[in-house]
Structure formats: C-alpha cells, structure tokens
C-alpha cells in the first residue's frame, strides 16, 4: 500500500480532521515529558471509538506500519514517543473519553482509555464511591496510560497499583481485531488471565481502549501525622505498629531524608517543617477508613505513642484539620521541585522488599558518594511499598552537564545494588525505551525468553509500540 493509500484509509477510518500530518502540529507530540526522547511520525490519528481504533490498527497491520499509542503524554520512560525512523502512526486516545457505565451496586465503572484520571476520581465521588488511584499527573494523565504502565502513586499501600483496580479490559489487538474482555466479575477462573498481560505491557501487545474499574467505599475518616525518626529501621518499626493497630489502614507511608526537607523549606513557597528540631529522617503517615467514631485516629495516636516510648519516634505532630494535613503533603511534594533549584539530579525509580530498604540505603548511599564526591543523595518515597525515588542532587557548585553525564554509570551502580537486594529497576514508571537494557541485564534468561515468546505470539509482526519493553528476538 502506498503512503497515500495508508493516509486515505486513516482518514476514512477517523475523519480527515482527526489525522494530523503537519510537522508543526505534530512536534509537541514527538518529545517526551522530560525531553529526553525525540522521534518523528507519519501521522497522529485521534479515533473517537473502539471501532475507529480497530480500523486504524487494521490499516497499519496491513501496511506493516508501526503503531505508537499515546495517552496523556506524562510518561517518564519514553514509552509514548515514536522512534526517529518516521515510519510510525501515533494513535492518540484522548477522544475515547466516555464513562460508559457506573454500577455502584457492583462497585464498578466502565470507562474508556482517554478518560483523565482526576475526572474518574470525581465520577466515583459523585456516586458515593472512591477510585483510589492517585498520582502527581492525575489532572493530565489518561487511565489508558495508567493501565498500560501499571501506574503506582500515593495509595498503593492500601489499594494496590493500577493493576489491582481492574476487573476487565477491552483491547484492540495487533491484527486490528477487538477483544471484548469487559468483565465485571470478582471471581472468574475461566482460562488464562489475559487482562494482567495487557496491563503493564505499555501498548506492545495491543491498545487498551476501555476498562472495568473497581470502586471502593469512601473512607469515613482520615488521620495524618508527621514524625521525626532516628533511622530507617525505626521508620519501618513505626509502619509495622501503625498497620497492626489500624488493621492495615495506612494509605500512605512516606519517607524523607533530612536533606529533602531542608531543600523543600529553602526553595518552595509554603513548605514548612512542622517539627521543631532537625531529624535525620521524617515520615508522613496517613490512615483512612474507620467507622466515623474517631477510633481510627485514636488507633494511629496509640501506635505513634507506643513508638515514641520505644524510641522509634523522636517527635511527632498529628494534623488537627485538613489544612494541616495538606501542609504536610505540600512539604513532601515540594521535594522534587526543590531539587531543581540545586542543579542537576540523577534519578532512580526503584523498589526493594520493604524489609530491605535500610540495607539498600546503607549500601547505595556510600557507593554513589564514592563515585561522585560531594554528591547529595535525597532519598524519599513510598516506604510502605519499598519504592524509593533514590534521587541524587549534584555537588554544590558543580557543572550540571558534567554531573548529568554520569547518569548511566550511576544508574548502573545503583541498579546493581538494587538487584542484589532482590529489587526492581522499574518500580512504577515502566520500561519504555529508558529501561530496556537494564531489565534485560537483570532478568533471568528464562524470563526474557518468555517475554519474547509472548510478544511474538500476540504481535507476530512487531508493529505494536515496537522497541519498547522487549524486542521479539534476542539482541545479539
């Protein structure tokens, strides 16, 4: 099929106004959020229905055209940016934005891939329910991208990752056919679980066009505390106490190194340390649930008091109202912005077993300090999930470019330590282009062989988001 014929078919499939080929209009969609990856594309199409997605993928399959799905374009690993060959068609999901059904009695909603995450949180709330997935990009990111990357975020400790929110999927497959797997069931043992294969596959096996999502009751109570602790082992002990006292009610348990708090207070408006003294580590704990009788807060207070008596907590404040809780969170969220004011940052998105976090930090911190004298580690993140953003701020006064040139070498060293502690080099951001080499370096050969076999089985011509996650044949 000639170029004209492909474009004709795309126009016939979605309407000419939704087929963009103008370079200036395409440009913003050819670069990733962190501006690390650039590519080119033959066209960017914006189908409005599942049938239109199927027609687009079908035309691409028949012409051997690579397909790059694009959601809210907030990914951090280059998963949604085409390569430089210019052969790909971008399939944007933003017009697939209908909430097809809400079923409060089944605690589910059926939504299309292009729905904005925040809109889905609001939809659930309007029906007296909670949709717990929550992350920094929630005002922009689309649920299809959240599912394709198995997004994590702030509430994983209590509610799990994006994967755990899904009962069913609708997917346009590599040949352009549509799999209707929109089940709304809590139990189903009829055959292999295909939804879990597409979730986290980053569009390399098909395009998720719709999903059945679980809803939860809205929590009756929330209680939030901010504590200074002497070391990471103590933070873990506090986590354990809180979970036992509240029956696993912790929705967030965030760890911050002293340096992160100091940089946030220094650089970000409104960021204030609620504790009087400087503590080597601080934790932000939030519990949700309860019965509307104050018992949840009392349970948290009891656990924190016992931790204080045991020397695991040096000082602690409870939020007395929603405004104070927001202030605690503002400090936590200010850390990323604060680091920008101090020059370059080398970042990691890693997870280790929760019990291995102290040993990982004890090994990784001196290792990077030995590589780059004066480097300023600012570890923070979701301790309750074992997921740390082990971010490194450049030495004071150093050249940012020279520092950032060490990115890959530092990553490699840190990832070796992560692997030695049974961890992953991609905790919640996915593989995309950025981590392909690293996951191949650490996964056992039996696992890489299975990933490739599945890729070949479901995308035999390697047209679905090629060059991401895994190649169909072993790299030589």
């Amino acid at each position: 099929m000639t170029e004209d014929t492909l474009l004709d078919r795309l126009c016939a499939a979605v309407g000419a106004r939704y087929v963009e080929t103008d370079p200036d209009a395409l440009a913003p969609h050819l670069i990733d959020w962190r501006k690390r990856y650039r590519g080119t594309a033959r066209a960017r199409v914006r189908p409005g229905t599942t049938e239109e997605v199927a027609a687009v993928v079908s035309a691409c399959a028949q012409t051997g055209t690579p397909v790059v799905p694009q959601g809210g374009e907030t990914g951090l690993v280059g998963g949604g940016v085409p390569d430089a060959s210019g052969s790909a068609v971008i399939v944007a999901t933003d017009r697939l934005n209908r909430v097809r059904a809400v079923d409060p009695a089944n605690n589910t909603m059926t939504v299309e891939a292009g729905c904005i995450l925040q809109h889905l949180q609001q939809t659930a709330e309007a029906h007296g329910r909670l949709f717990p997935l929550s992350l920094a990009a929630e005002g922009i990111c689309q649920i299809g991208g959240n599912l394709a990357t198995n997004a994590g975020g702030l509430n994983v400790l209590k509610y799990g990752t994006a994967r755990d929110q899904v009962l069913g999927l609708e997917v346009v497959l590599a040949d352009g056919s549509v799999w209707d797997g929109l089940r709304r069931l809590r139990k189903d043992t009829a055959g292999y679980d295909l939804k879990h294969l597409f979730i986290g596959a980053e569009g390399t096996l098909g395009i998720i066009t719709a999903a059945v999502l679980r809803l939860h009751p809205q929590p009756r109570e929330t209680a939030t505390a901010f504590a200074g602790v002497p070391d990471v082992e103590s933070a873990l002990a506090v986590l354990n106490r809180v979970q036992e006292a509240t029956g696993h009610a912790a929705s967030s348990f965030e760890l911050m190194a002293r340096r992160g708090v100091e940089l946030a207070v220094k650089h970000v408006e409104g960021a204030r340390d609620p504790l009087g003294a400087a503590h080597p580590w601080t934790v932000l704990v939030e519990v949700t649930g309860g019965f509307g009788d104050g018992g949840l807060r009392a349970g948290l207070e009891g656990a924190l008091m016992a931790a204080h008596e045991a020397g695991e907590i040096a000082d602690v404040v409870m939020a007395e109202n929603a405004g104070q809780a927001r202030a605690f969170w503002h400090l936590r969220e200010a850390i990323v912005e604060a680091q920008r004011h101090e020059g370059g940052s080398i970042k990691h998105d890693i997870a280790v077993p929760v019990s291995a976090v102290p040993a990982f930090l004890a090994e990784a911190t001196p290792a990077v300090e030995a590589m780059i004298p004066g480097v300023r580690p600012v570890p923070f993140g979701h301790l309750g999930d074992g997921n740390l953003h082990f971010n490194l701020t450049q030495p004071e006064g150093a050249d940012p470019g020279a520092f950032l040139a060490r990115w890959e070498a530092v990553n490699a060293r840190v990832h070796d330590i992560v692997h030695a502690h049974g961890g992953t080099v991609s905790a919640e951001h996915g593989v995309g282009q950025l981590k392909m080499g690293e996951i191949a370096r650490f996964k056992p050969p039996e696992e890489m062989a299975m990933l490739r076999a599945i890729k070949r089985a479901l995308d035999p011509h390697n047209l679905m988001n090629p060059g991401r996650v895994v190649t169909p044949e072993a790299e030589s």
Copy 2:
C-alpha cells in the same frame, strides 16, 4: 527413548522409592474427588526439590511424555487426573513442603507448592500475621493447587482470590528449565506480568514449585451477624450499607435460600436456625478489622439497624461470642451435606456481577423449574463476590440417576442465562476437563485464539497437563 529409559531417568532424578508404578498404589491418584474422572498413568513421581521437578519435566520433554501435576487432589473439575491413554507421568508436589522464609517486616512468606493451606495459615499466625486464603478443603489442599486454580473461598470479599495473595513465583517450565520469579516486591513494572499467567493456568503452562505470598495484620476484632431478608435485592442493600459503614470490612457476606436452611436443620447435627421465624432468604455477614475498641461491631450494628428500619432486614441476631459465630457458620456449611440426604444434586459454580444476582436468580430459577418439574433449587454462596453455588436438589421421590442424567442439559441452560447476565461459568473451581467445552462456547473467538497462542508459545509440544483449559489448536 524407551519406557525403561524414561523410568530410569525418573528414578535417577528423584530416587526409585519416589517413582510409583504399581497399579494398586497408583489407583487412588487416578480418580478425582467427585469420582467423575478416571485415568491411567505411566508413573507417579514425588520430587523433593525444584531441581528434581526440573529433572522430571526435562526427561518428559525429551521423551514427548505428558506431565500431569497433582497437589492435594481436592479439585472439582478433573484438572489433576490423567487421561485414559496411560501415557502421562503424574508429578506430585507433596514433598515440596518447606516454608523457605517468613519476612514479617515485608509481610511475606516464601513457600513451596506442596505446603498444606492450613499449615500456611498457622505459620502466618505464629508470626503474628494473617494469611487470609480459606476454603473448605484447607486441611488437605496444597498451596500449589490453590494458585494453579486461582482458588477463591470465604474471604475473597475483603482479601481477594488466591491470585491476589501472590508477589512472586518459581515455575518449572515446559522444557524443564526453572523460572525464578520469586520477587518480594509491592511494585514492579519491569516487563509483562508472568506470574498472573501461571496463576489459574492449572498446570498447562508449567508447574508452580514455590511462591512468595502476602501476609496481612491479624484483625483486632471480628463481628458476625445472621439476618432474615425479604428478597435478594434487600440482601444487596444490606451489603452496601455494611461496606459503607465499616469501610469495606466485610470478609464474608453469604446468602442462603430458605430451602437450604431448612434442609440443613433437618439433616445435619447441630445445625440450628438462630432466627425465630422463617424468612425467604438469610444472610451471614462477618466483618473483620477495627482498632480493638468495639467500633467495628458498633459500625456493623448501626448498619444493620438502619437496614431494619428501611425494611431491608426482617430480623437479625448478632453473635455474642465466638461459639455463636461458629454456630452461624455451621448452618451455612451444612447446606452441602444436607443436600446429599435428599438425593442427587446438579451443581453450578457461577459468578455474575454482584448487581446482577437478583435478575439472574429471577430468570434461572423458573427456567430450571420448567425443565424439571418439582426440582428444588438451593441457591447459596458468596453474594459479596457475585459467586453463587446454584445447586439443584432432585424432585422428592424422583430417581437420582434419571435426574443426574439431565446434568449437562441443565448446565447448558443455566450457563446461557449466566452468560446473558455478564457472568462466568467457572467462578472459583477452574476449568479442568469439566468446563473446557463451556468456556469455548462463551468466550469470544479473539480470546480463544489468544489462549491458544499463549499455550503454543509456552508449551509448544503440548505436554503440560494437556487436554485441560484449552487445546493448542482450535477444535474442528
């Protein structure tokens, strides 16, 4: 390879004393729990380590020998019984029974496939934790079988199915290699999620030899109630009230039709209806969690009182102690035994969306009554999961054989209605041999094609538990 050579290799792999070929010794392992399936086998081997399993599967792969994994032999769909050809080697997992590690700070334990479920519950308890998977066969069934079939049971409403308890797996693959996927991580977005493919695959893609299981805090409080309700819609309204009042604390929400309660009281020792009057439907609700201050029970009582005022509950009793709670459960569990005293039963293991349960029952009950005049439906089960055991007791005085001869015809009619309501014909027992035809009848062709493609990709010679779940090529 000759027969002798295969047996020699099996003996070399596991030791001759663990290779059984004597027909009398094999016989009990060639028939299923419900005595519906019988087969024969070349040998039954009992490897003691993962390496021994790998050596056995390797020998089978090289000789084109089918492999049938066998756990506690409590399956209900003929998944663990060899076929009649006599060509298969049974691989029993009972000697793989070590708890390799317990990590309370990570809330995980690493266990081998042959561990008895009840022993794992006790192991968790000994470490101050809860392993929530619980089902009738827990004193006999093995965790490997629970995972291979994605078992459900009594606590799915709060804790999910077997699938939801797993962080990592170790699997012996079809070629005899070992995949070490024993990750202990809460977040991991590095590549396709393979564990979810093996869980629920019933041994058709490989043999699960070990798993990393999640642990939970032990609940501080439990409260149990037994209520009479006028109809199934009211039961659903009560479920919703309880979940909202207690923050999703219901671990069980069981529905029983009047007939089930009457048969249990009539036939089973100690079964007593705690309610004074006869109600068309009864529910058993149990909530777990709380903060040790009585708030959980008060939350449940408040929800039940509000339901009573709204006319959704006619009468209710709360268990005042553990003995009373056990008595409620004894009545619920007596229903299956009670049915045996009334002659033959035709059974279904189905699930529909929770919100569709009333409509399903309203359609399925008259449908089976029209097929077999005098049939006595005894629907009961896990309403909170939409999972009903829609069991039918024969008409009074009818011939059991003639009644049971209608099994397939009745199944087909009921399954059509289940499918029309968006349900599944295999909710928690799996596919095995019993349901292969039925799942192929209802799944969309795109899905069947994917199941076959995955089977071919991971088991190219169709040697892993062949003839279960899905055939590698479409049946003509």
